[in-house]
């Protein structure tokens, strides 16, 4: 054994040593921050609501145990053991699997582009929250100041602010419109913030993560406490969480649970591999995997309780206002004294009037106000955050403060996920030795951020939202599933479970038990294959269409379903398959190289007469 320290055989990247986390908490918070993202806030509550409330937790937990935790453990263990980014890791597992790493890099780049655009929108709303009254609370006036803008009047102030004042959206995806300079400025600002935090890799990110990973929990707690004290919140919570166990019979629920767990943990991006590669060799990655996955799922649950209580308040509020509108119509038509009918008496008064003067009542066109109808109105994604929740905030006392808190929370949530995305791009590039020793890391991170920023400018066009939905639906899901499948199969069969278990034992001190072996070898690959096939089948069956915000549409404000033009469909297909092509391309290249090498050695071995 050498007494003096020799060069680290496993470290890569020039003569300087690999940076490492200041402490274990930074590493855990970074992984948690990467896993916990916007999807925990606006995708999980929607799934819970659609799939029978509390009953959805059963398939969710089953998917977590059978698919989420094993895959996560593989990523952390292999990154920690091989101490290099995703490209180097898969090249080390097998030269034929090198394409997986490159594919992960490509997908991370595509996702970074559009994920930060969502953060741009969040930043725009955040900046607009510092005023009272909030700008999405009322419609702007029309030209002769006798009424409100037609578009706003037909839809709602909140939708108008989102579609017109923020996105300035066009009616069709082929109509690109012009670049919105307000969004461009916010895009530059959010990329500047991302650059500030990842400028020195994990040194700078480790400091920033304390705030960006913990602040959302603080805000969620505040919203939970406030939400539970609002009228109607408890009713909303009970309605939305009441389990409907019959829903478990549908296979679609299990499929969506497995898919949700997969994307929620941010697997197959290469980000967790990058984070784990900065760990010391002796670190209990098994415990880390379980802790982080559980924290991610508990955060989803916690967030959905906070969201549902506020949404329950909103539903109760909307229901009350619906009743008030009906009462006003009744009072005005029948000349009853002002404020003589309150919400509790409404039903009795209506039935009395219906009995005595039914034709007059029928002419009034009263709305049906049922609380369940308002509670059933659900949305996921940007619709939940920018339309439904902003409307709920309008009716909370002290609305600007709540808006600032909410959008600040969304921004920090997305920011910590962006760290993971950027690290999954930067760490492999650093390890591949792309930079010469004299180009500092700051320049590489700056270049990466600049390239992503310039590419993301296309999302600030007026049709940007339509393109973002395309990226969200087609760029990531299929590719990630393919890469995850290759990851599991690569580690379990190509690298070998025994060899992998030896590595894990050398790192944690304990050999992985039966649960890990079974899930790595059998359960997880099967599950991944099933959800991949099901996803492809669903995708093939649904026609490629999008919902356009068209003011000329007959049924405006309902969005019009339009199908994509041909060139856009081609772009969708390209996004689906281009990153995956790295895998066969690299495998083929390796095959050809091996073949050529064998031919050369064969020629050398030939006896020279």
């Amino acid at each position: 054994m050498a007494c003096a320290p020799g060069p680290d055989p496993r470290g890569a990247g020039g003569g300087h040593e690999r940076p490492s986390w200041d402490n274990r908490l930074q590493y855990l918070l970074s992984c948690i921050g990467f896993a916990v993202g916007l999807g925990n806030i606006w995708r999980f509550p929607y799934l819970c609501q659609t799939y029978g409330g509390g009953a959805f937790l059963i398939p969710y937990l089953v998917a977590l145990v059978l698919e989420g935790i094993p895959l996560f453990h593989i990523e952390l263990a292999i990154g920690q053991h091989l101490r290099t980014g995703s490209v180097g890791v898969w090249k080390a597992v097998s030269p034929y699997l090198g394409g997986v790493g490159l594919g992960c890099l490509t997908v991370s780049f595509l996702v970074s582009m559009y994920y930060n655009t969502v953060l741009t929108w969040v930043l725009w709303y955040f900046l607009n929250s510092f005023q009272n009254p909030l700008p999405w609370g009322s419609c702007p006036l029309d030209l002769n100041r006798t009424g409100f803008e037609a578009e706003c009047q037909a839809s709602s102030p909140v939708s108008y602010f989102w579609y017109r004042r923020t996105l300035n959206i066009t009616a069709d995806i082929s109509d690109s419109g012009s670049i919105q300079w307000r969004l461009l400025a916010c895009l530059a600002a959010s990329w500047a913030v991302v650059y500030l935090c990842v400028i020195r890799g994990i040194e700078s990110m480790g400091k920033a993560i304390y705030f960006t990973a913990l602040f959302p929990y603080l805000v969620l707690t505040i919203f939970l406490i406030r939400g539970l004290s609002l009228p109607g919140a408890v009713k909303g919570l009970t309605y939305l969480f009441t389990p409907d166990v019959r829903i478990l019979q549908s296979p679609r629920v299990w499929l969506d649970a497995a898919t949700q767990i997969f994307f929620s943990l941010s697997l197959a991006f290469g980000g967790h591999i990058a984070f784990a590669s900065y760990n010391p060799h002796r670190n209990n990655c098994e415990k880390d995997a379980v802790i982080i996955s559980l924290v991610n799922s508990l955060t989803s649950l916690y967030a959905s309780i906070a969201m549902f209580s506020v949404l329950g308040f909103k539903a109760a509020n909307d229901h009350g206002r619906c009743l008030d509108r009906n009462i006003l119509r009744l009072i005005n038509a029948f000349e009853l004294p002002d404020q003589s009918v309150n919400r509790d008496d409404y039903a009795a008064v209506l039935s009395h009037l219906n009995a005595t003067q039914p034709e007059r009542v029928a002419r009034l066109c009263l709305e049906t106000c049922r609380l369940e109808d308002f509670l059933d109105k659900s949305a996921s994604g940007t619709g939940l955050a920018f339309i439904i929740f902003t409307e709920a905030i309008l009716h909370m006392p002290g609305a600007p403060g709540w808006a600032v808190l909410f959008f600040g929370m969304l921004f920090t949530l997305g920011l910590s996920s962006m760290f993971g995305n950027m690290e999954s791009i930067i760490t492999p590039l650093l390890d591949m030795g792309v930079t010469h020793r004299f180009i500092p890391k700051e320049v590489l991170t700056g270049l990466a951020c600049l390239v992503c920023f310039l590419s993301a400018i296309c999302f600030t066009l007026q049709s940007g939202n339509y393109w973002l939905e395309i990226f969200d639906n087609y760029a990531a899901p299929l590719n990630l599933m393919v890469f995850a499948f290759f990851e599991v199969v690569g580690v379990a069969y190509v690298y070998g479970v025994q060899r992998f278990s030896d590595d894990v034992e050398s790192m944690t001190g304990r050999r992985p038990g039966l649960y890990w072996q079974v899930t790595w070898k059998v359960v997880s690959p099967l599950l991944l294959l099933t959800i991949f096939v099901a996803y492809v089948v669903t995708l093939a069956r649904t026609p490629l269409s999008y919902k356009a915000w068209d003011t000329q549409y007959v049924r405006f404000p309902t969005r019009q379903e339009k199908s994509y033009p041909g060139w856009v469909q081609a772009a969708c297909v390209l996004l689906c398959f281009l990153p995956v092509l790295w895998v066969p391309a690299v495998a083929l290249a390796q095959l050809l190289a091996a073949h050529r090498r064998k031919k050369d050695t064969g020629r050398d071995r030939c006896p020279k007469l």
Binding site: C3, A4, G147, A189, A192, I199
Partner: protein, 222 residues
């Protein structure tokens, strides 16, 4: 005789004020909504005030400065509180055209609202649209101010980090040459041969000469 005259005059006036006449306007008040517990009851005195305000508004119109309170007729008062009113011109014995009344009311809407402690939503003139107040737009939108603050902070922080990184790197490139000098001066350089430190003159421990240690191990035990 005079009594009969005044009664017939009242009748003719009221017939002119019949609801749905083309120059009549319906008014609707929601006093309890606006004032809650401080709501006042609507009685004939309030009606008188209303007629006074309408007459006042008409007086502001050129050619109508001689409008009197008695020219304003109110009828069909309901519990809601809602009623119809019309402005007459007794000299020519007809009702004033709706357009004139509408313009007059619109110009003095604020005064009328103020007299009753109501606003445009709680004191409704059903055929007269109110001019909505323009939104108070500050000269510089607030979001630009906050954006400027955040952006400047971020740029300054990035500059500081880059500068400190450059300074650190300059110190490190000067650093190794300094370390070499100190190493020459240092007496405790450890040279390694066969993996065993060859420093027999190590005065710290001072007991066992490591160079001889392996000799014993090579000898087979007896």
């Amino acid at each position: 005789m005079r009594q009969n005259n005044s009664i017939t005059q009242e009748h003719t006036r009221r017939s002119k004020a019949k609801a749905d006449g083309e120059n009549a306007f319906k008014v609707r008040l929601s006093i309890r909504t606006a004032l809650g517990d401080n709501a006042y009851a609507w009685d004939t005195n309030e009606e008188y005030l209303f007629k006074a305000m309408v007459a006042f508004s008409m007086r502001k119109v050129p050619n109508r400065e001689t409008t009197e309170i008695s020219h304003v007729l109110v009828c069909n008062v309901t519990q809601r509180v809602s009623f119809w009113f019309v402005v007459t011109d007794p000299l020519k014995n007809h009702t004033l055209p709706a357009v004139e009344v509408q313009t007059a009311i619109r110009m003095n809407r604020n005064r009328i609202n103020g007299a009753f402690f109501l606003n445009d939503q709680t004191l409704e003139f059903l055929k007269i649209p109110s001019t909505l107040a323009p939104p108070t737009d500050p000269s510089v939108p607030i979001w630009i101010i906050i954006f400027g603050v955040i952006f400047c902070i971020v740029i300054v922080a990035v500059m500081l980090l880059i500068l400190s990184g450059i300074r650190q790197r300059r110190r490190m490139s000067k650093g190794p040459t300094e370390v070499d000098d100190s190493e020459d001066k240092c007496e405790n350089t450890i040279t390694i041969e066969n993996g065993i430190p060859c420093d027999p003159l190590d005065t710290k421990g001072g007991h066992i000469n490591d160079a001889f240690m392996t000799e014993d191990e090579r000898l087979t035990p007896l």
